[in-house]
Symmetry: C2
């Protein structure tokens, strides 16, 4: 692209390094910012810089936090003996949005993926084992996506945790609510028949 | 959304005010920035702030510029007596990318659009008339999108400029190169038959 201004070019190049944003979209975003008030743009830029400089990770669950211990881990209302293991912060937010879970979390920071060179030692698995071995834990819920990497991670976590003899559960898999049977994939539909549940158990109490 | 961090929430909210970026995309972009080096993120934030604070508009053509007079208007290589009138900076870049134009520009800053409350006085039309009346001009090219607003603006500009008795041209309209006739809309195809050109004129010299 032929930029008439070095400042413009710099800003467009920075934006186009973000995932899913090409040069044309970056230019559109930058020209949009040029039409905003200088104070607004300054607030935008500073929010990003401040975020990166000041953000912490909770020392207990590794979730993104403003403090050493995150709000969930420090809340008196949360059940500390139930740990929900998730891949990343987005999954914590997804589970929190359901308003159905009142325990605490453990953020792995990724999934085991030999293809991408990510092994168990790259994730916060040792600290999970430590939490389970040093604090009283009643249940570990593995809320991990049922993908290849997810299943590998679940299997590894299960092997590491089963010695502690506490219940290890995974989130229920099956046909999504509102989903049509005829459009479901064979594996999901097949497994959901094999792992069918009594009607009374399928309804929310 | 349930954010575990106020810093995270602020950054996501700032991002989601950009056009075409919702909360989920904003979160993805922000989490991406969190994985980058702090210096990189600082450079990103500062590039945006600096752009908004220091950017200028060329006093001759109103294009975005780092200086009072833009690179194109101050270049000795450009033909100053041919003015290409465009809607905004993006169109200047589009024409520049063709490497087929060697005159100068005039950026209107928008198009006449009564629906959006944009009249001729909101655009840099008076300064264009002034350029034409005070400097020697051999041709005015109206490189404006053939939309409803574009055609209105072209008609208005033509009325304002015709008294100066200089050639006023518009960019050629017709079937795009590589376009298939059967998929062309009726208006474009119909007009391109009516305004057909001798074969010798249709090839690039």
């Amino acid at each position: 692209m032929n930029f008439s201004s070095k400042l413009l070019e710099d800003a467009v190049n920075e934006f186009s390094q973000l995932p899913g944003i090409g040069q044309k979209t970056a230019l559109r975003l930058v020209l949009h910012l040029l039409n905003r008030e200088p104070e607004e743009v300054e607030r935008f830029g500073n929010a990003i810089i401040k975020l990166r400089q000041e953000i912490k990770h909770c020392t207990i669950c590794h979730n993104i936090s403003d403090n050493e211990i995150c709000e969930i881990c420090s809340s008196a209302k949360r059940e500390k003996e139930i740990i929900c293991v998730v891949e990343d912060t987005r999954d914590v937010m997804a589970v929190e949005n359901t308003s159905q879970y009142f325990g605490v979390y453990h953020v792995l920071g990724g999934l085991i993926s030999p293809m991408d060179g990510i092994g168990p030692s790259d994730l916060f698995i040792d600290t999970l084992v430590q939490r389970v071995s040093t604090t009283p834990v009643k249940e570990v819920i593995l809320a991990i996506s049922p993908t290849m990497e997810g299943d590998t991670t679940i299997f590894y976590l299960y092997k590491r945790l089963k010695a502690f003899q506490i219940p290890i559960t995974t989130i229920a898999r099956g046909i999504a609510f509102g989903g049509e049977l005829e459009y479901a994939d064979e594996i999901t539909l097949g497994r959901s028949i094999v792992t069918r549940v009594p009607y009374e158990n399928s309804i929310l109490k």
